[in-house]
């Protein structure tokens, strides 16, 4: 099985339905046949099926080779979260080992587009994506609640970002609608803006100074990086990156330092996106970025690999997955 971790966890939901269907069929046959031997055989079959189902769930997670679509870091527990379109993983040892995070069965209806950790002492973990809406966990991924009420019913969420400083504030970009903001952890949403002209691939919130309100939004788009104050006073192109951007991140300890990944290169701006300088990339196709408060830069790639740099992208080390 190539991706047993969360995929199996997701199957657990539909698997229960499947076992139930088998059991109903068995009961129907027994009712028609009526033999004690048949009953014993059917029970043994069912026990076997359940055991096989449990064994599948118990398999350890494997490093996924699917593209990394999102990275997030919980500074309190020093946990890094890595999302692919179908699975979410956590690592508490800088990426050396990974554990699958089980999402609710409803998540199987869609795919993951983003993962984020909120600010604050008790941060919330969010995942979001087309078809699944917004999911929030307040216990490090053990239990999840849907936070999609108030968002367009098509649930076509393409990006999510947590506010850099306000624990309850989170933003989502919904295709065809625009950017919604919640200030109460996803309980209520307000449409704020239609977003930049170009489609957003990823976006982030930074507490870079100079905003009329509390910070800035940076979006990786098909034309580079776009920037807006979080008062939603208009989107502007951030510098002349000149390429489609696949990922964007900022350094919490230097909020004016913005990283952007294009199809084949990695860039750093030290002045809020005005000018970009190419830096050393760990791989040609970086698809997700995150920077920890101590300045460690993580880059996830299109083939599921995660790299770590402790010197702002000068040198890189491949992590365990």
């Amino acid at each position: 099985m190539s991706r047993p971790s969360l995929r199996v966890a997701r199957v657990a939901g539909s698997g229960a339905d499947w076992v139930e269907q088998v059991w109903r069929a068995v009961v129907t046959v027994l009712e028609r046949a009526g033999g004690a031997q048949l009953r014993r055989g059917a029970c043994a079959l069912l026990v076997g099926l359940l055991a096989a189902h449990g064994a599948a769930n118990a398999q350890p997670p494997h490093p996924s080779r699917a593209a990394v679509v999102g990275l997030a870091f919980d500074a309190g527990t020093r946990t890094i979260f890595k999302a692919t379109a179908e699975n979410l993983y956590r690592s508490g040892d800088e990426g050396r080992t990974w554990t699958a995070v089980t999402l609710p069965p409803a998540a199987a209806r869609g795919r993951i587009a983003a993962v984020a950790v909120s600010a604050g002492n008790k941060p919330a973990l969010y995942v979001a994506g087309p078809g699944m809406g917004v999911l929030r966990s307040d216990d490090d991924g053990r239990a999840w609640t849907s936070r999609s009420k108030g968002l367009p019913s098509d649930n076509n969420i393409v990006a999510l970002a947590a506010h850099a400083a306000q624990p309850g504030t989170v933003y989502v970009d919904v295709a065809g609608h625009g950017i919604f903001r919640s200030m109460d952890g996803g309980a209520r949403w307000k449409l704020m803006d239609r977003g930049p002209r170009e489609r957003i691939v990823r976006f982030i919130h930074t507490n870079m100074p100079g905003s009329m309100q509390t910070g800035w939004l940076f979006a990786a788009t098909a034309k580079g990086v776009s920037r807006a104050m979080d008062c939603f006073c208009g989107w502007h192109s951030a510098g002349a990156l000149g390429h489609a951007a696949r990922a964007v991140a900022y350094d919490p300890s230097r909020p004016q330092d913005i990283y952007a990944a294009t199809d084949d290169a990695l860039f750093l701006s030290t002045n809020g996106g005005e000018r970009w300088a190419r830096i050393n990339a760990p791989a040609p196709a970086v698809s997700a970025l995150v920077v920890t408060p101590s300045g460690e830069l993580y880059a996830g790639t299109g083939d599921g690999v995660l790299f770590r740099s402790a010197d702002r992208g000068r040198t890189w080390k491949r992590t365990g997955a």
Partner: protein, 158 residues
């Protein structure tokens, strides 16, 4: 005359009473025309091409009417911008993008201008802005004692 008008606003302000509203509106519009219209337009329509930096590398004054984004901002934020000004950090000059009017206008006059702006917005925009203002209302200096309403608004003219 403007000061006298503002003093009356300090009493009546956003009371929104039908009899007093026209006078509030007239006074507030006069303050707007004297202090804001030269940059933001006589009807708050903003400068041409306001979404793009000009030749000096500055952002032109945006619309303050329904076509802009002022309606997205809470009373407290709008007050702060008018009172203290603001400089776009990406300005290519050192000038303030929005000049500070705190030394020129009283708190009541600033509040009157913001009340006038609300008459330029759609009902849906006013509802949105009211929600934002619950989180960030006018500062205490601009909150008149007694009879004023909560919104800082006045009867809309659109």
């Amino acid at each position: 005359m403007v000061l006298v008008g503002a003093a009356s606003l300090a009493h009546a302000g956003a009371r929104d009473g039908p009899a007093s509203a026209p006078e509030h509106f007239r006074v507030a519009r006069a303050i707007f025309e004297k202090n804001c219209a030269s940059c933001h337009g006589a009807r708050g329509e903003g400068a041409p091409h306001w979404e793009h930096r000009d030749a000096k590398g500055e952002l032109p004054p945006p619309p303050l009417d329904a076509g802009g984004h002022a309606w997205k901002h809470a009373d407290g934020m709008l007050y702060r911008l008018v009172e203290a000004g603001w400089r776009d950090p990406f300005n290519k000059t050192e000038r303030l993008t929005m000049p500070a009017f705190g030394g020129k206008l009283s708190p009541q006059q600033i509040r009157a201008i913001i009340g006038y702006l609300k008459t330029l917005w759609t009902p849906a925009q006013r509802r949105f802005q009211l929600g934002e203002s619950r989180r960030e209302p006018f500062p205490p200096d601009a909150r008149p004692s007694g009879r004023q309403g909560k919104s800082g608004g006045m009867q809309p003219r659109n």
